[in-house]
Amino acid sequence: MSRRQKTTIICRCEDITEAEIVQTIRKGYHSLEELKRILRCGMGHCQGRTCLNIIARIIMRETGLPIERINLPTPRPPLKPVPLGILGRYNEENE
């Protein structure tokens, strides 16, 4: 693993480097869903909007899989992080 790969942060919410991602792919984990669960990449504040497409390209480079066979994980609500206090008052305020 090159010094560049060890110091390049791919998932900025969870601090995951390119080297960690490549090592995990080389262990045989070739899907974004698996990488997400093992490394937590894409599970932070931005929900993978920053990193998942970059990781898909790393998978493509490492495995030769065509990009259309690398599925994006299921998107989860809410679209943007929302405070518990605001969500919790939603029903009261809209009754």
């Binding site: 504040h45 992080p81 206090g85 969500l87 919790g88």
Partner: protein, 377 residues
Amino acid sequence: MNKTCDAIVIGGGIIGAATGYYLAKQGLKVYLFEKSFPCSGSTGRCIGGIRQQFSHELSIQVMLESVKIFANLAYEFGKSVEWYPGGYLFLAHSEEKKKAYLAAIAMQRKYGLLVEFISPEECRKIVPQLNPDGLIGGAYCPTDGQANPFLVTYGYLEGIKKLKGKIFPYTEVKKINLAQDRVRSIITDKADEFFAPIIINAAGPFARKIGKMVGLDLPIYPDRHESLVTEACERLFDPMLVDYRSDGCYFLQNYGTGHFIGCYTPDPLVPGESLSSTDQFLTEMPRRMVRLVPALKDLKVIRQWAGSYEMTPDGNPIVDRTPINGFYISAGMCGHGFMFGPALGKFMAEMIVRGQPKIPLDDFALNRDFKKSEAMK
């Protein structure tokens, strides 16, 4: 590739992974089949709580064993699984609840569990941010805890690979072939046939479907439960909080990451295989969390999802051999699969290899009377 092995495990969640691992440790060559990716089902959707506080004797015994295993998994795998004994605090807001907890505590103590009923003041020493309104105390066990379901499951799977086994992700079992009254082989969705004298059904919400392949009608039906996770923050408190009021909820702060993660049991229940998440949960769960711990109000929700509780009629799993020789079931975990997994994996391996697990699993038998019920669901 060699198409013959000693045991085929169907299901890549905690139950399949742990069972496969302990079988491999006994010297069996294990092939594990998962129709999607490992942890794609109930295990990967659970919130990672681990408790010994049950009101059912066998569940208490199983969990005493599981906690011992969880506490040692980091040594076993050479890697942390984020096990943390932060405890469980079951809150009582009524005399009736208090009485039920006291009865359960008496039973739990018979097995040596460190558990007691504590006052509201003591609850607030453990969770200073806890709202004391209506609180009359809580059942507290400091040796309950939490672990990361992904790290535990993938740890077991890596272990199977090291012990000469094989994992087949994205490979669905379509058919099970019998030879007279015993199992012979499976056929996958890629039309491959694999042979083994032992097949274990650890398919979670799909266990009923797998059972049908050999003519068994298993009483296992999934219910949908929902969860959410917040952003991380500094450590606020250790235990899982369980609020059993009719509009209660349960949540904990993840030790490894600092996120809060939690769910509630929907009323009425939502039967079926659906895993879609609802905006009703996204507004109701925060209301319940903030009511219990007002200090959480500014913490942001980053994600919500749903998962299955695979329910049996009495709230206990089915872990047993079957009338078909070589076909075993470990499923219907009723929402306790992750915490039961390590011990049940070990016990199932003992049942298969030695004929009898260390603790008799009569209450989890396939042909039991399903009318009795577990109260601390």
